[in-house]
Point group: C2
């Protein structure tokens, strides 16, 4: 592409030194090389940048104007290179991450704080959605990674992060709320379960559990958010099934909020980190996994004795 950055660089150097020889010396090239580049540039641009005498080299009026623009270009290129050098942290300096709602509200605040300490230049952009929506965005390249349920998508690599347990809550005058400690599936028989709307993996898990507990998922009150489900349960509309991240965070905040873990091996919600197999950031993702697991541990330790 003409003019070349090299030519522009030479032009600025000659303008600053006011002499070809000195400029060539500063640039560590021979004077004829520099002369030729300048001559080419002038010919290609169709203008004369310098007025030459054997003693002095002066900018022409046009040259003065071009010099300003030339400096701008070199400055931009310098910044371009600096930006590249500055992008040596995790994922450069920006990561767009898609997460499930419970993760976004109750896990990411702690995780991002931790990441910020370790990678001060990393800017996290968080988008929420269902695992299916997030994986589509991941494959499209609209986001860089996903925290969601496991998947078998080809070209997606995953690492398991942690497992959420599932907890129930009901109205405060409900028999379920009278006791604490794990609750057996049999205790849920014939009680309508409240779950997130279909599309979320959690919905399917609750459906399976309902079958095993000889009950059903309420069709009338499929909540769009975990908060909505909890409110419906408190009002007596059924038994809310909540993932531990949400349930325990709320329970810690409100001691009167009774939640009980469902005592069943399938009452769990596996959470994994996903990325495109083609990513050039595999190592970075491995690091990210470690920090996310550490963040989960941190949350666990921060909980009251009740939920250890």
């Amino acid at each position: 592409m003409r003019p070349t950055l090299r030519q522009i660089e030479y032009f600025v150097a000659v303008a600053e030194f006011g002499a070809f020889g000195a400029a060539a010396n500063a640039l560590a090239v021979s004077q004829p090389s520099l002369s030729k580049q300048l001559a080419s540039m002038e010919e290609e641009l169709g203008i004369v940048l310098f007025e030459r005498t054997s003693r002095r080299v002066t900018l022409t009026p046009i040259g003065k104007k071009m010099l300003q623009r030339a400096r701008t270009i070199l400055q931009d290129v310098t910044e371009f290179k600096a930006a590249a050098r500055g992008s040596v942290g995790l994922f450069g300096d920006r990561l767009t991450i898609g997460v499930l709602p419970s993760v976004g509200a109750y896990f990411m605040p702690i995780a991002s704080k931790r990441l910020h300490v370790r990678f001060p230049n990393l800017r996290l952009v968080v988008r929420e959605g269902t695992t299916a929506q997030l994986l589509e965005m991941l494959i499209d390249g609209r986001i860089d990674t996903v925290i969601g349920t496991p998947t078998n998508e080809p070209n997606i690599e995953s690492v398991s992060l942690f497992t959420e347990t599932l907890w129930v809550c009901a109205a405060s005058d409900d028999p379920l709320s009278a006791q604490s400690g794990p609750v057996a599936l049999t205790e849920l028989a014939d009680r309508p379960l409240l779950a997130l709307s279909s599309g979320f993996t959690l919905h399917d898990i609750v459906e399976d559990l309902a079958v095993k507990a000889n009950t059903f998922v309420s069709r009338d009150y499929q909540g769009a958010s975990l908060d909505a489900i909890r409110q419906m349960a408190v009002m007596g509309a059924g038994v809310a099934v909540l993932p531990s991240l949400y349930a325990l965070a709320e329970a810690v905040r409100d001691p009167d909020f009774v939640v009980r873990r469902i005592d069943h091996p399938e009452a769990r919600h596996d959470i994994a980190l996903h990325w495109r197999r083609s990513t050039p950031h595999k190592d970075d993702f491995q690091q990210l996994v470690e920090h996310l697991i550490a963040a989960k541990q941190e949350i666990r330790e921060a909980r009251g004795e009740r939920f250890k």
Copy 2:
């Protein structure tokens, strides 16, 4: 200089097409050439700009950020080239011209108006000074051309523009002001002449005339400006010797202001255009000369009948 403009251009093209092949086609280069340039660029910058799958090419988070800067650079270069192409008028689009005071005040307004009509993009910067000062600035390259008295400086080329006649004025009750028409040198005998301060060529000319007229130049009232000299003359301090550009402009403005041409072959002030012999704008100066002469003619025609 790395990265090369060519590399940056390729980078933007691939980002826009989302494919190496299509970008290569649009750039009229082969796909391998483009691949290699991009690979080199990534290696040299130490970052990965694209995530490659065999189906799709996506920008990495870093790549997105670098793309913005890359576009800025290409935009600047485009403007750089456009500026060069736009600089095809007289002297590019800017001319710094040094002139004598009388020329600056009474000639340049008309001349620059005329030049502006002919060269709408030309911006004139005018500096005033003595011929000696102006020539020094010209040689230094601080200004591009000079309108001043003739010189024998080496490496300066000159073309004569016009000749100013010299005119006298005195107090309104002075015998000189009682008549009109040319005044002979003999009429000035023993009258102190008022002239610009030494340093101006006009001062030396008046000194010579004074000798021929059997009189002298007043030492007490060497004016720093032509206006000052006129005021002193009007107050009776002597006989002001003024160049025609000034004298006639003032006379036209004020009909009561009596000026009379000195009738002597040496009562003249030659004005020439000077430029450095090394300038690459010789043709432009030739054009400039024509327009300046035409401007002088215009001024002459605009004067009242009295001074034709």
